[in-house]
Assembly symmetry: C2
């Protein structure tokens, strides 16, 4: 089987091993066993255990980044696109946390143990927000003098709804109301000429 061994097959097996044994116990030998190869064969593709773990984390996050690419073909305003994007992120995080807590915890450990992965992920996610803000600036729906800085501010202002340190709060029955209120405030902060909300809006 060793002659057909690809990096992709190793990464898929590593993800499975991590899921089964958890990040503290999973070893390269476990991965080699799962593939029916020697651990030397695995090391020919990934020089160290750390490199293998970082590659599997990057592969998982890349899938998230593709899935989370903003959709501009839905006939939505930039404000609606931003709200839908933040909602999709929040849903993904809280469902991941409640439905597959082991995998959620595993990837949290993997992301944190790397020096480069957190920034890699942040760059992609804030980049998605920046693309939505740019689209809104183009249509004069939004205004900002620095798209990148504003995208980072939107990310930071919504941290309660995507940062894992807040996962315990996501089961709160009023969390969706809290999300809606923060997103409304943030979107109003982006608008070119804010339309005052009428009392009848409530």
């Amino acid at each position: 089987m060793a002659e057909a061994l690809t990096g992709e097959a190793i990464l898929a097996a590593t993800e499975e091993v991590l899921r089964r044994y958890g990040p503290a116990k999973a070893t390269v030998v476990d991965v080699a066993k799962a593939l029916g190869v020697s651990h030397g064969s695995v090391y020919r593709h990934f020089a160290t255990k750390a490199a293998l773990r970082e590659a599997v984390t990057r592969r998982w996050l890349d899938a998230v980044h593709v899935e989370m690419a903003p959709k501009f073909d839905q006939g939505l305003t930039a404000a609606e696109t931003l709200r839908a994007w933040l909602q999709a992120l929040f849903d993904k995080k809280r469902h991941g946390h409640s439905e597959d807590p082991e995998l959620f915890a595993t990837f949290q450990v993997l992301v944190k143990e790397s020096n480069v992965i957190p920034d890699y992920h942040l760059e992609h996610m804030v980049g998605h927000v920046a693309r939505i803000i740019s689209a809104g600036v183009e249509t004069h729906e939004f205004v900002t003098d620095d798209v990148q800085k504003t995208a980072q501010a939107v990310w930071d202002a919504t941290e309660k709804f995507h940062h894992p340190a807040h996962a315990q709060e996501w089961g709160n029955p009023h969390i969706q109301d809290a999300f809606d209120a923060v997103v409304s405030l943030v979107v109003d902060g982006l608008r070119y000429n804010r339309i005052p909300s009428a009392a009848g809006d409530a």
Copy 2:
């Protein structure tokens, strides 16, 4: 000394004992010893150890609530008042965390172990934000159809700068820039008729 024993003296001694031994080890006997009284004398004022700890936490938070009462006599706009208030809160949190980490950690434990204290604190702090927003609505600087809900949204959107789960990020060299950007976004979201920031603003 027992005849002069007041609730206030017990609370001051308890705070000192908590500071010295930490929340895990501090006992009512330690408090009684520090005061030169029997532990029965302490229990006549506070029926349980939990009640004593809750009272000392409430006393500490009450001082914070008074200190953090918004100042409306500084000739500032509501936006400036809100920014100054959030800055004072952030400074208080990050300096408390870096300069007196034991006391910071102690009160974190005390706040969390109570069923009522977290809401008590939140209500006061969000109440302060609501008073600033109300003042801005009165002068037509801000607009909102629900001051209380919007105050909670401002609190939630700035969580990165006051929630203890983010304390590790407060030493980041760019954290003040991140704070400024989030507060600008939030304040813009509150404005009655947002003035688009000119490109020359940057």
